[in-house]
Symmetry: C2
Amino acid sequence: MVVGSENRLLAALPREGRRRFVASCDHVELKLHDILAEAGEQIHHVYFPTAGFISLIVTLDNGAQLEVGIIGNEGMLGSALTLDVSVSPQLAIVQGVGTALRMSAPAFRRQCQQNAKLRERLARYVYVSMRQLAQMSACTRYHQVEARLARRLLMSRDCAGANELHLTHEFLASTLGVRRVGITQAARALQARGLIRYSRGDITITDGAGLEIRSCECYGRGNHMYAQGLDSLRTRSNSCMRPSARGPPT
Amino acid sequence: MVVGSENRLLAALPREGRRRFVASCDHVELKLHDILAEAGEQIHHVYFPTAGFISLIVTLDNGAQLEVGIIGNEGMLGSALTLDVSVSPQLAIVQGVGTALRMSAPAFRRQCQQNAKLRERLARYVYVSMRQLAQMSACTRYHQVEARLARRLLMSRDCAGANELHLTHEFLASTLGVRRVGITQAARALQARGLIRYSRGDITITDGAGLEIRSCECYGRGNHMYAQGLDSLRTRSNSCMRPSARGPPT
DNA sequence: CTCGCAATGTTCGCTGGCGCACTGACGGCT
DNA sequence: AGCCGTCAGTGCGCCAGCGAACATTGCGAG
């Protein structure tokens, strides 16, 4: 398969189990702004993105929203089912066009029951997700807009697998929970340093390494969490805080 | 057993399984500032508080800390083990003196393997924890100090099972990730409304209902999540956002 | 009784981000 | 051509919370 057209959560499964799993899936397109799950509603399908990404969004009573996580080809939407809960914890919206493997909730339950290796992988994924949520909390609290923007752009890049992104200031503002003007300022600062270029919804990362430096530690930590999730968290006692590659683009 | 001396996560287990489970536990005291787990380190024991509570804390590179969750008698410390991961995701410190049932990690793994009902309960708990983390993220981002303080006091009350709390401004500041001065201001505002009284580390909630009104929605939502966790999340499609009682004190 | 310390009260200037409103630029559609 | 919608730039007043001091109070140890 072409690099990037694979879901890395499934890629780590043994060949045979993966074939059976994928055979029960549909290949679907992720269209911009598709709502794949709503907070508190039943989960009908699980999604394993192979390209593009999905935002997980918390909505408060006053209507304020905050992105609490994104799901790219390193993860899945609907992991609550692995916890035997069929209610979606958050709103899930496609924010980066792409494709995904989709499976119905009942079929997914059956696969989980039959496939121990799958269960194990997914349990790890849930664990990593929890760490990410906690890290995001602190990030949102303490880090400044410019650093968070840099982090978010890098994460988008990793999901998209390309340095060219289609993200408007307006959208980035809503995901980071700040004003659009705040993004404009931060983006200009990054552009002034030659790290990105942008125009009318197209953002190009021109210096990924530089952007990492301006981004907050949460980017590296996140990568490291996923990297850990891929190998043995069971036995090791890792120091757990060193950044590492989640897979820079082509 | 005396009300409040029970861990509610275990209380929901069938009588026989619970007896076997508790038989493998030690009864231990939770002493103030005991560190029960460190971020990235091995989990040696799991804890089921029966009184008091444990803070989960994320630490950033610059040393800034933020409490991302608390564990009282509705939960457990070490749930990562149910995900087959033995590395603690966060720092866990006793912030409210009390008692807990403690079990070694290997024994806990065995119990999980043998006891399907236990696994089911714990999976639910992990799910609820994830929702809480996400909610906290948004709360920390958008809600003001006074409302967050009110929420935190109510949560402490529920854990302690009493309206008299022992919490200094300094401590509350660190958990909410704000300055001590911010707590002083917020606490004075709450006291002026006659909702609490405090002096030198002793805080008394004098009007719990009033405090709920001043607190942010996250308090009610949290309670509702736990309440849901106790009954069937599997089949229902709940609207999921109505507050309800998590158990006001005696 | 007194010293020391923990806990709380208070002040002052600062700043990051907010809310709002308006402007300008580009591009697709009719 | 003209229009409209999307996207970005700018200015202005505002405020919650920050950071850093310093003052006060009450309690326990010696």
